[in-house]
């Protein structure tokens, strides 16, 4: 997936409530490649735009993603239990 496709995908997933701007996107991509979470990949098809860089998640990136999701999940769970989420009673 290339950078612009990521922007569009992010917008679709958040249903337009959040916008990923190019400055933040490409700075983050550079850092993720640097830390080994992403790696550059060849274009998926011959008809793809060769000027664009394509990325894929590395095994390390998947592990970090899983751990980070679990951490955020625990935090969210804590927020639910403490009653910070609207419509839910605290314990």
């Amino acid at each position: 997936m290339h950078g612009y496709a990521l922007m569009q995908s992010f917008r679709e997933m958040t249903e337009g409530s959040d916008v990923l701007l190019p400055g933040a996107l490409y700075a983050t991509l550079a850092r993720m490649v640097e830390t080994g979470l992403l790696e550059e990949a060849p274009p998926p098809g011959t008809g793809e735009d060769r000027r664009r860089r394509y990325y894929r998640v590395t095994p390390r990136g998947k592990r970090v993603g899983a751990l980070e999701s679990a951490r955020l999940g625990r935090l969210l769970d804590l927020a639910h239990r403490r009653g910070f989420v609207p419509g839910e009673a605290g314990s």
Partner: protein, 206 residues
């Protein structure tokens, strides 16, 4: 519309100067294309304030991210990054110097134009400073007296009840003396001023 599109693109391109050079070389074109695609496709620019606000946000975001990259992380590995802190700092700000140098070179390349720009700027700034300081001293600054905000100016107003008419009467020295003597119970000092030349005598009036 084309002019606005060109302006937005140039503004975004200029903001990319905030990115460290290696990052700009690696991602500058893609970031610009992504910005333009969003701007023209209207997806990112569909918000409440439209394409102008989107341009401002995207440009500010690039500047912020670029500065963050320069200041917090230094250059990327393989693009001049080093583990030595001093060298890393030098490379980081050296990169900034490399970005700033070309505009200065072009200034020195056409000294006449640069001088004219400097003179115009100096005149503009000077005029601005003069007007601002005049405005400040005449209108905005408080009067140079203690409790200046309690200072009042007294007028003599003649009121004719039959015609319901008010008329401001001129002061004279005699009226001022009378005012001071009659109103001697006032706790605050009273002073007068005038714009005419006169002679004061030490003899009692009259």
């Amino acid at each position: 519309m084309n002019v606005l599109r060109l302006l937005a693109e140039q503004l975004f391109r200029a903001s990319l100067l905030g990115f460290p050079r290696p990052l700009r070389r690696a991602f500058g074109d893609e970031a610009r294309e992504a910005f333009m695609a969003d701007l023209l496709g209207g997806q990112g620019a569909q918000g409440r304030h439209g394409p102008v606000w989107f341009t401002v946000r995207a440009t500010a975001n690039v500047v912020r991210e670029g500065l963050r990259e320069r200041i917090r992380h230094g250059p990327l590995p393989g693009h001049g990054a080093t583990t030595d802190k001093t060298t890393r700092r030098k490379t980081m700000w050296g990169g900034l110097a490399l970005d700033v140098r070309p505009p200065f070179r072009s200034l020195f390349r056409s000294p006449g134009l640069s001088l004219a720009a400097v003179v115009v700027l100096a005149l503009g700034l000077g005029a601005n400073a003069t007007v601002s300081s005049a405005l400040k001293s005449t209108v905005l600054a408080p009067l140079p007296y203690p409790d200046a905000e309690a200072l009042v100016m007294a007028d003599i107003v003649a009121f004719r009840a039959s015609r319901e008419e008010r008329r401001v009467m001129p002061w004279s020295y005699a009226k001022f003396r009378t005012f001071v003597e009659v109103e001697a119970r006032l706790p605050d000092p009273v002073a007068g001023y005038g714009g005419r030349t006169g002679t004061l005598s030490s003899r009692p009036w009259g």
